[in-house]
Amino acid sequence: MFRKPVVLLGLGLAVMFIAIGLTWYAPAARLAQGMLWGVGGGLLLGGGIRWLGGGHCDEAPPRVHRRYLREFIPAMAAYLVLLVLSLWLLKRVDDQALRAIVALLPVAPIALVLRAIIRYIRDTDELQRRIELEAVSFSTALVSLLYMSGGFLQLAGVIDVPSGVAMIWVFPLMCVIYGFAKALVSRRFR
């Protein structure tokens, strides 16, 4: 059921409505609002990607797909927990060295997520590997181009993006563009 684009898009919209509702009724719950916006946005993007890819945009042998989910879901869950914990702790810890460790907590599960993705690509079949290669190339090229443009604009003093924001968004941006590229590339082989 959660593979249907319509379901994902509907859920995404619903979560976003709750986020908007929360801004009205509980303006203080900033963390919950941010999370709901994130989850809603993620569901909308996921639904959009599936819709573009004609319902299913990546197919690996079932064994590989199951292992991927088994590795990806716990790592992503750990990331969410550690992210919340890290943000909470950062407000209470003053020592610089300790702050560095706390700030880096969410990176460990992301490394596990990347490991799951790489193992998936390595063990999937040849057609899917080709689709992944094209999608990764496209997303790398586009994000590089975007960041290079941003860098030149910033150096020229035209824009002023905080460096932390710019750095954090590299990976999510790559993932989103990768997803859309994968949906588009896989259409060619259908």
Binding site: E59, P61, E126, L127, Q128, R130, F189, R190
Partner: protein
């Protein structure tokens, strides 16, 4: 590239999913090979040939020799 995969698969009475399982690839790949949208690697072509008990050149038909793209 044109191929006789669909014809052979149907002769063996397999669905795309069943053939995919025997070849250790996804159904998407079987479908893309059958529709001529993807040319399999040499090892996969050999696995197909062995499965159907026919030589590779009897299964895959290079463009321009027979049929249309």
């Amino acid at each position: 590239m044109d191929s006789r995969i669909r014809e052979l698969r149907e002769r063996f009475g397999w669905s795309q999913g069943e053939l995919a399982e025997r070849l250790q690839v996804s159904r998407q790949t079987v479908n893309a090979i059958e529709t001529g949208k993807y040319d399999p690697s040499l090892p996969l072509a050999f696995r197909l040939a062995r499965l159907f008990g026919e030589p590779i050149e009897a299964i895959f038909l290079p463009d321009g020799i027979q049929g249309e793209e």
